[in-house]
Every structure is written in structure tokens, then in C-alpha cells.
Symmetry: C2
Subunit: 502 residues, 2 copies
Amino acid sequence: MGYENYVDRMREIADIRYATAVLQWDQETYMPEAGADGRSRQIATLSELAHSRFTDPAMGDLVSRLRSSGSTDPMATRNLDLTAYDFDQASRLPAAFVRRMSETVSKAFQAWVTARSENNFNRFAPILETLVTLKKEEAALLGFEGHPYNALLNQYERGCTTDLLDKIFGALRGPLQQLIDRIGTRPQVDNAIFRQYFPETDQWAFSLDMLKLMGFDTSAGRQDKSAHPFTTNFSSRDVRITTRIDENDLSYMTWSTIHELGHALYEQGLPESQYGLPLGEYASLSIHESQSRLWENNVGRSLAWSRNFLPLLLQYFPMQFHKTNPDQLYRAANRVEPSLIRTEADELTYHFHVLIRYEIEKSLIGGDLSVNDIPDAWAAGYKRYLGIEVPDNSRGCLQDVHWSHGSFGYFPTYSLGSLYAAQFFAAAAHEIPDLSVRIEKGEYHLLLDWLRKKVHMHGRFFTSEELCREVTGEGINIGHFMQYVNDKYRFIYAFQPEEAAI
Amino acid sequence: MGYENYVDRMREIADIRYATAVLQWDQETYMPEAGADGRSRQIATLSELAHSRFTDPAMGDLVSRLRSSGSTDPMATRNLDLTAYDFDQASRLPAAFVRRMSETVSKAFQAWVTARSENNFNRFAPILETLVTLKKEEAALLGFEGHPYNALLNQYERGCTTDLLDKIFGALRGPLQQLIDRIGTRPQVDNAIFRQYFPETDQWAFSLDMLKLMGFDTSAGRQDKSAHPFTTNFSSRDVRITTRIDENDLSYMTWSTIHELGHALYEQGLPESQYGLPLGEYASLSIHESQSRLWENNVGRSLAWSRNFLPLLLQYFPMQFHKTNPDQLYRAANRVEPSLIRTEADELTYHFHVLIRYEIEKSLIGGDLSVNDIPDAWAAGYKRYLGIEVPDNSRGCLQDVHWSHGSFGYFPTYSLGSLYAAQFFAAAAHEIPDLSVRIEKGEYHLLLDWLRKKVHMHGRFFTSEELCREVTGEGINIGHFMQYVNDKYRFIYAFQPEEAAI
């Protein structure tokens, strides 16, 4: 039967892609440095193989034929439609181009690691230049309407455009700035409790306990360490997350682990029966990020979570927390302060970190900014939006791994994810009785089950916007995020109610 | 140019094979259990892909054409000759047969795990029956002269035959038996120092120190833990070994780690420039095993090694070793005692473990023994050669993983490896002044450099026998092994000189 044939082909390609993911995971966790050259080759070969198998004209013909024969199964129909779309997109990139990109990316990653550790942008600039040229070429190959950056945005978030982002950031900027300014007039929250000495082995053990308590299935996943935390998976039954530990700051590991947990719970919740098919995949990057942000912020930085987890923190770190109450923990976890590092930013200033990167990427791809001018543009952005000076490139434009991976157009999905997270969490709070009381009691499965049913099990059936309507009854609406942060920070920074109303 | 084309094709296939090796390494070290199904799929897909690319008729044509055009570069010529041989061998097995074998092997492994843990040979017998039938079919497909088992032996050790093995084991048996019997009349060596409590973290740290001190390049490899120690590699610059730690027996980890170190040093010494080509591969399984055995036994179980490493052992385990002198350590590491488990056997009785398996495999493939009679044949062999009773099949014919992997003809390479190890080490001792004094001083690089030059750098240029002649000036000669063990055990078990002369 034709559909079976399609499924077999898709699964074989998935096998190759997941194998590539294993090689990449190993590269970032355990691979010895001298293994880098061989690994670049191996990843490039597998990527090319998966690409050429997927773009095989016979694949396109098969899908066309099956679509025109008209299946009555809505899931089969959706799989075929999505594959047809993916096939069209992938076919626009010639195999030679894909190989060149993948080889460049492997080298770029090594160069970025060196550049960042040596705080030397010039070590990264030449290969970044090559990457930007390749990305422009990619945009041209993919095709676009309006800005060329749209072609790259569309890869991570189907239908996303500079127009849409300009509108969303335009609407967010004012109210966010106002709230941050208002917070700036209030006494700062004390987060010194996190800046004590927390031994690595204890942090590691705490993180594993926390993962289990919050719903991570350890029989179908694991945590390791890497320079830059990430989540990957090799099926929905093998989901890997990584974390990074700073012995002088407990907060980094804690909320980074919960963030990756959110990604991992999503992957573990995707339908196993759809292995290798679009419906076995996540809906979009912004929806993926909505899951990580929801767990990190809406759950992990709530008063209910602080109440639930303080006892375990006390068990692991009695000396450090014996004078802390849940309210202090909650406040410390929500300190707002313009800062240099995106991954350590609070929920409010975070969007400006994204906005700065969005503007730089848009200019780079549009040809309005050269690679050598990135450090200046970076500094100007941080000055303008966050009012701070960038002391060096390691803490500036070299801080993120994304460009070294060839990911341009990725950052905006982080902001979209936060917005969806707030909107989804508001819906969950509406539908699950006493949600915060349940969280306080450690009953995370109620929320997880809700997300499994509302979001995870659908895989890629819906677009971000469709899914948002399915889950919340309306399209993306920044009002939910603003409501959430206004409520939260009014309490934490003790505004007068009328002052906080925006 | 044609040769370049050949090199590119070979390297692409190597990329897929090494990627498969990464997946297998992860499966045995870090993969969560629920990941098993996806991983089997992924490994099967990649294996089939590599096989079909290699057996592509275009590959055969290319190699034929290049060979008949007559290169003047001896390395290129040798690469092409070896690839022609490999191509011919691989082409004899139809894709459908390869798939049937690989599916049977997957099931056989699961059945073996169950059978061994339940001590129930009947759980394994039916699938083993199927495997033996398939292996007979494989022998017929591959072709052979003389005994059908020769076809299987030849896969692991080119040119190896039952005639050769019968001759070698025939010559070894008598003198070995005599030596073991003689040892049996002497007071037993005390190895209680190893049977104390050695915390896992300390053993782990000691093993890493030991690896470095003995020459392992940690920038081009790493050690992890697995249920069964193994060595694998993804290029000569990324060599992975694993170990297993028993907190109540230091000796298991110590010599198993040194054994894998020997394999790893060989892989790290293969010429990087020959990545993906036959000359970048090891010479044969017996030569691989000669390297592991040489480091494990000829080096690691020597008095010189004990003198060199006792201070480090004392540093890690002061309580356990404060009353031990190098002589006692040396003796304890060389206790001879007939036992049930091959992987824990001493250097002498080990060959009988191999001989028993060799005789059973030969009879199975020759049709002189049925699968159901294996337990009896096993018991008879252990009774006859080692004088011990086999209490159950878990500690008998179910102990090794090999048959469940479809590996028949593999075991004999272990004995050949020991014999080559002794012969190579004798040559090294002849050529490196004061070798044992150098080892005692921790100067392992002298031996390593010698092996690099004499063995490693040649890759697969020579056959085992040719390499042996290159290194030692003669073909395989069991006299070197017998000389080595006679000298060693005469000292350890304090024979009268005339009594030991065999």
C-alpha cells in the first residue's frame, strides 16, 4: 500500500536524522577535542544523506500521488500535506549547498568556542562572515516575500515575518519598558541567597531530583552536562537534556534545568506511534519554547513552586537556606535587572535581549550591517534598550551558540514562546481547579496531563496560531503576558495598585 | 582522478559506519532503556545503508578499473587490493540474507539476556538453532575449502583454518596442561589483597590516572562505564574505552582497563591520513587482541609494572595496600586456577576456555553437534580440560555474548592474540634496552613508540602472519608464549628449575 511505503521512507530518513542528533549530542557532551574533524565529516555525510533521501524526486512523486488519491484519514492527510510542504522547502536547497553549510557549521562551532573563551571576536568573524553569506544564499534559494530574513524566520516558525515581529515587539516595547522603569524606582530585590557556594555534586543531585519530581521520565531520557544547555531527542522515548553548573550561583542551574525540562516534557509527550512522521514532531519552535518557558517561568518562578521546593533545597543546602522563607525565595528568583547575558535575564528584560538580536540578524541578512560591525551594533542595542555598557565580546555578541550553528531567525521564537506560555498557562489556570495550590503540593502531573492533551499529543497537526486557538480560544495575544508580569511584579516590587496599571 | 573518487566513496561509507559505532557506544553507556526500540531501528538503517553503498556494483567497477590501470603507489595498490577482497566477500551475501541475519541477531540477543538471567538454556536454544542454520548458509555463500567453519574463521582472521588451529592448539595443549598441573602441586598464591572494599570513585580516578601514565591520549579518547568493557572508535582521533567497577574486587577493573587500553593505543596509532581506507584499519582481530593482551599481561601483570604502580595504588588505597610489597602484588595478579568464567580466567587456563568454544563451534557448523547437545559438550569440555564441574548454564554455555551476536569463529582470535603478544613482547624486549627497567620507571612510551612503528602505523598493510614476520622475523611460534609463561610461573610458584623445564 502506498501510505505504508511513505511511512517506511520517512522512518528511514528519521533514523538517519536521529543518528545525526546522537552525533551532535555526543559532540557537545563527551567527545574528546581531537575527534572534532572526524565528527564534522560524519555529521556532514549523514545530513547530506538524509537531505538527499528526502529530496529524492521519487519521494515527491509518492507524496503527490498519495495526496491526489485522497485519503480519508485526517492524520494521514495532514502528514502528507506537511511532508509535501517540507519536500518543497528542502528541494529548494541543493545537496552541495547543504553539505557546504554543514561543514561550515561544524568548523564555526569550534571557532566560536575558542573565540568566546579567548574573548576574541576576530577568531569567529571570518567563519561568521562565511555563514552569513551562506544564509543570504539560503534565503535566496528558499524564496521570500518582503524582507529576505523572512525566508529564515519561516524555517523556524512557519509564516513568521518581520512585519509580524515588528508589530509584536512594537506593542510589547512600551509597556515592558514602563514596567521595567517602574521597577527601577523601587528598592531592589535581594537575591544574595543564590550567590553562595553550592558544590557541584549537590547541585547535580538536586537537579536530578527536581527533574523527577516535576515529571521527567528518566526511563526515556537523561541529563548530562554541556557548555551551553540544550535539549535533543532520538525518538520520543529517548530525550536528552543538558545543564551547566556554576558553584557560586545556584539559580543558573535551577531555572536552566527547568527550562530544558519543559522542552523535554514536550518531546516525551509527542505521539510515539508517529515516529518519523510530521505528526510525531513538535508544532513549531515557538510552541517548543512556550513549553520550556511555561515550566521555567509560569511554574518554576511562582510562589507556589517556591513553597513546594524550599524543603528540598533545605535538605540539599541546609546552611545556605536555613534562614530563607518561600516568599524570599520567590522574590530572589524574580529579580528584575538589565544585564548582559540573555540566558540569565529576567522575564522582562529578556525580550530586549531578543529584540537586539532580531534587529542585528535582520540587518545582517538584509545587507545593512557587516559582520565586523556586530560588536558595535550589539553595544548600541544594549545601551539603547537596557541602558548598559557591554564590557567585552564574550559577554556580548559571542555569548550565544546560535550563530555558530547557522541558526539565524531562531531568537524571535524565544519571545513568541514566552507570550504563548503566558497565554497557555492562563488557560490552564482557568481549567485546572486550584492550579497553584496543586503546584504548591507538588502535583505537577495535573498540569503535565493538561499540556499532554492540549498541546503535546497533537504533534505538528496544528500551526502555532491554530494550536493557540485550540488551546486558548484566540490567537496570540500579548495581553496575557502583560497581565501575568504586571500581577507578578506588582506583588514582588510592592507597587501601589494604581501605579502599576498600564 | 579515479583514486580520489574511490577515497571519497570509502570515506563516506566510513562516516556511516563510524556513526553507527557512536550509536552503539551510546547504547551501551548512556542510553535510557526506553530508547532501545528507536536505537535498534537507527542502527539497522545505518548498517544496511553502509552495506548497500559498499556493495554497489559501481564501487566494484571503480575498484576493478583502478586496479587494472596499475598504480605505482604501493599504499594505493594495497588499499585497492584489500577493498577488492572486501567487496568480493561482502557481495557474496545478498541484502536479503544480511537483513535476515541482522533481524535474527537482534532477537537472539534479547533471548540470550533472558536465558542467561533465568539460567534457562531452552529460552536461547531455538533462536540459536536458527542462527547456526544461518551461519551454515553464510559459510556456503562465502565459500570455503576443507571445513565449512573455515569460511567463518576467515571473516575474523583472514586465512585462518581449522587445520591451523588444530595444529596450534595441539602443540599448546600438552605443555600448558603440564604447567597447570605442576602449579596445582604448589601452594596457591594469595590474592586476598584485591578482595577488599575499593570505593567506585577512587577506582575510577585511579583508572584514569593509570590510562594517562601508560600512554592513552586523552585528547583523542575517553573512558566511560558499561556492563561489559569494550573499545570502539570513530576515527583514530576519537577512541572510546569502557570499564566496569566491582567495589569488592580491584583486579577486575585494573586489568580490564589495561586490556582495553591496549586496544585503544592500537586504534590511536593507526594512520589518520588513511581515514576510511583499509590502511587506516587494524590488521586483524588477532593482532588487535595481541595489543590488548600485550599491555594487559606482558606489561600489566609483570613485576616491573607492580613496582611502578604500587606507589600510586598506595596513594589511592593506603589502607588496603599498606602491607603489600611489589612482589606480593605481582603474585596476586598472576594466580592460576581453573575456573568457570572465561573473562576472569588467568593467562594459562584461558586457552582451554577458548579451545572448548572452538571445538563446539567447529562441531556445530560441521553438523557433528546439535544445539541441544551444547550444554553436555560444554560440561564435558570443562571436565576434560580444566577438571571442573559446570554447575549451571549461566556460568556455562550461556556466559558469552558472542553467539547471540552471530559471532562464530571469533573466540580463536583471543588465543592467537595471546601468542602474538608474547612473541611481539619478546622482540620488543630484545630491541629495547632494559625494557623491564624502563617499565619499572614508568617509561611506557618506549614500548608504545616501538609498537607504533612496528605494528600500529602499518594499519592493514600486512596480514597477521606477514606482520608477525615483519616484527619478529618469523611466523607465529608458540615457543615464545611457553617461554614467557614458564619463566613467569616458575618464579611465582617457586618451582625447582629442573621441574619446570618442559
